[in-house]
Symmetry: C2
Subunit: 319 residues, 2 copies
C-alpha cells in the first residue's frame, strides 16, 4: 500500500502492480495483497508464478474488473491463464532475468508459438534492450516489449550506481541459472555467491534446500541494490546485460529505441524489391529460375534474370 | 568426393560443402577432406567446430581462395574466425539443433551481439522455420537465415517419412541437451535413448565417456533417418520442431517464407504513424507528454494529444 501511494505521488499517469506468486516456506498473504490493489483503485495488474487462479478470480471480481497481464514461460501456462480470464500475456523467453521456468524455450521459438496458439494479445519479455529487439518482437507477433534489466541501467533506477556499472561491464555470458534442482530456476548475475550455490546444487548428495538456502537469500539479494556490492548476494539479471553499454535517462532510452525500431523496419522494408512483370522482360514467360542462363546464384523466388540477385534474402535482395 | 559429384549431377547451381571439425577419438583426415573440396572446384565451404585454423588456412590458400562461412555459437569464436580470414559468419543460437556450444546464449541476444561487434556479414542459424523468423533475424542485423530442421521436414529431404512426421507431431519442448558433461553439448530429439543418456551423464560417479558412448552413437543416429524409427538412436533436432506443422516441397516452403516475411515487415511498418508537426495543432509548442490533458496513457515519444495512443509500441502505435 505504501509503495502504491508513493508511486501515485510521483506520477499522474496510470501504473500497474506486479503480483508474483512464488513457492515459499511461509507464503505471503496474496489475497490481502490483491484486496489492497483493488481498494487502491489500481486498474492493471501483472500476475506471474504458480497457481494464479485464486488471485485472478479475486481481481476479476472487482468492479470494474481489473485488467490482468499474466507473465509466463510456456504456451501451456499461457493457454491456462487465458481460460482463467486474463486479458493479455507477457511471454518470457529463457534469456530473461529471474524465473525462467523449466523448459528453456527461447524467445525466437516461444513468441512464434504464442503467435500461432494464443487468441489474446501478448508482449515479449526477456532479452530486450533496443529498437532492433523491439522490431524483431513485433515481427514475431508481439504487440510490444517489456524491459526489466535494461531499465535497471537508467539514471532514474533507484539502485546503487555500482550495480548499474556492473551491468554495463558485464557480458552476455555473465549470468547463471540457479535452483534448477528445486524446479524454481532463476537467472542471476554471475558472482561468487551464485556460482557457490550452483556447486552445492550439483554436488550435494542430499539435495536438501536448506544447504543452498543461505546462498540464495532474497534479503541479501535486495541489499545488493542498496549497498552497491555486486558480490553481497544473488541478484537477477538477464542475458541482455551483454547488450547494455550505457546508463541513459528513461526518456533518452525510450526515444532511442523508438528511432532504432523505425530505422530497422525501414531498412528491412528496403531489402525487398518488387519483381518486374514478366512481360516487361522479353515478352515471353520464364517458367523457373533454372531457366536463368547467366545469374551465378538463383535468387529466392526469382522469376527473372537478375544478375544482382543473391542466395539469401527475400524477393530480390539488395544485400 | 562421391557426395560432391552426386550433388553436381542433381543441379547446375553452385552449392557449398560443410566441414564440421569435431572432437573424436579417431579424428577424420580433415586436411584430405579440404584437399578434395579444392580439387572438386567447390567455391563455398561452411566450417564449424573446434580449431578451424588449419583447415581455413588450407582453403584460403586455394587459387582462387575458397569463400568461407564459419558457424559459431559465441561472439568470441566469431571474432577469432574473422582474424583467421573467414568471409562471413553463421551465428547459431542455443535453440539450434546439434552442437549448441556451452554458453547457452539465445539468438535474441547473440544476433544483437553479432550486429554490435562483427565487421563482416552474418546469417542467423537455429530456430528458423518461417517468414516471421526471417523478418526478426533481419531486424536483429542478420543478412538472412539458415534452416536445418525445417528442411528435414520437406518432401525432398532424403529421410524416412516417419521421421518427418515425428517432427510435425513434436512440440518445442521435445528436445534434450546431451553431452554437456563432456563439453560437447548437443540438442537431440527427445526419445528414450537421449533421456537414458542424460540420466547416465547426471548420475555416473565416474564421468567416463565410455558409459554414455553406446547411447549417443552417431551410427545408430544416422540409421534413424533410413529405418524411420525415431527411438532407434539419438538424432538432432532444434527447438524449432515446435513451429513445424507440415511437410511442404522446398519450393512451396521458400515462397511461403518470402510472402510471410514481406507481410510481416509491411505490418510492422504500418504500426508507425508520423507525428503531426507541432504547429499543426494549436500553434504553440508542447514541451512533453505530461502536458497532454486528455490522453489516458502517455504514448511513447508522443508530443501531441492523441487519444488513440497506447502504452506500448513505437511512435503512435495503431495497435
Amino acid at each position: 500500500m505504501m509503495e502504491i501511494r508513493r508511486c501515485r505521488k510521483m506520477t499522474s499517469k496510470p501504473f500497474g502492480v506486479n503480483l508474483t506468486l512464488l513457492p515459499a516456506l511461509q507464503p505471503p498473504d496474496y489475497p490481502a495483497y490483491a484486496r489492497v490493489i483493488i481498494e487502491e483503485g489500481i486498474r492493471i495488474v501483472e500476475t506471474a508464478g504458480n497457481n494464479p487462479a485464486p488471485v485472478i478470480k479475486q481481481l476479476k471480481a472487482a468492479d470494474p474488473p481489473i485488467i490482468i497481464l499474466h507473465k509466463c514461460t510456456t504456451v501451456r501456462h499461457a493457454l491456462s491463464a487465458i481460460k482463467l480470464g486474463v486479458d493479455f500475456l507477457s511471454i518470457d523467453g529463457m534469456e530473461c532475468a529471474g524465473h525462467v521456468g523449466e523448459t528453456d524455450i527461447t524467445n525466437f521459438i516461444l513468441l512464434s508459438r504464442a503467435r500461432q496458439e494464443l487468441n489474446v494479445p501478448f508482449i515479449a519479455s526477456g532479452g530486450f534492450a533496443d529498437g532492433q529487439g523491439l522490431a524483431a518482437a513485433l515481427s514475431l507477433g508481439a504487440e510490444g516489449i517489456n524491459m526489466g534489466t535494461r531499465f535497471m541501467c537508467t539514471i532514474e533506477a533507484p539502485i546503487h550506481q555500482n550495480i548499474k556499472e556492473s551491468i554495463v561491464k558485464a557480458q552476455e555470458t555473465d549470468t547463471e541459472l540457479v535452483l534448477r534442482r528445486w524446479k524454481n530456476t532463476s537467472r542471476m548475475f554471475s558472482n561468487k555467491v551464485a556460482r557457490d550455490a550452483i556447486k552445492i546444487e550439483r554436488e550435494s548428495p542430499t539435495g536438501k534446500f536448506e544447504e543452498v538456502a543461505p546462498y540464495v537469500s532474497g534479503k541479501r539479494g535486495r541489499e545488493v541494490f542498496l549497498n552497491g556490492d555486486p558480490e553481497h548476494g544473488v541478484w537477477t539479471a538477464g542475458q541482455v546485460i551483454g547488450l547494455i553499454h550505457d546508463i541513459p535517462s528513461c526518456a533518452d532510452l525510450i526515444s532511442r529505441i523508438e528511432r532504432e525500431a523505425l530505422d530497422t523496419i525501414n531498412k528491412a522494408k528496403s531489402l525487398y524489391v518488387e519483381e518486374l512483370p514478366e512481360s516487361d522482360m522479353e515478352g515471353k514467360p520464364i517458367q523457373d529460375s533454372s531457366a536463368n542462363p547467366t545469374g551465378e546464384y538463383g535468387a529466392v523466388g526469382s522469376k527473372v534474370n537478375n544478375p544482382q540477385s543473391e542466395v539469401w534474402g527475400i524477393g530480390k535482395s539488395k544485400l
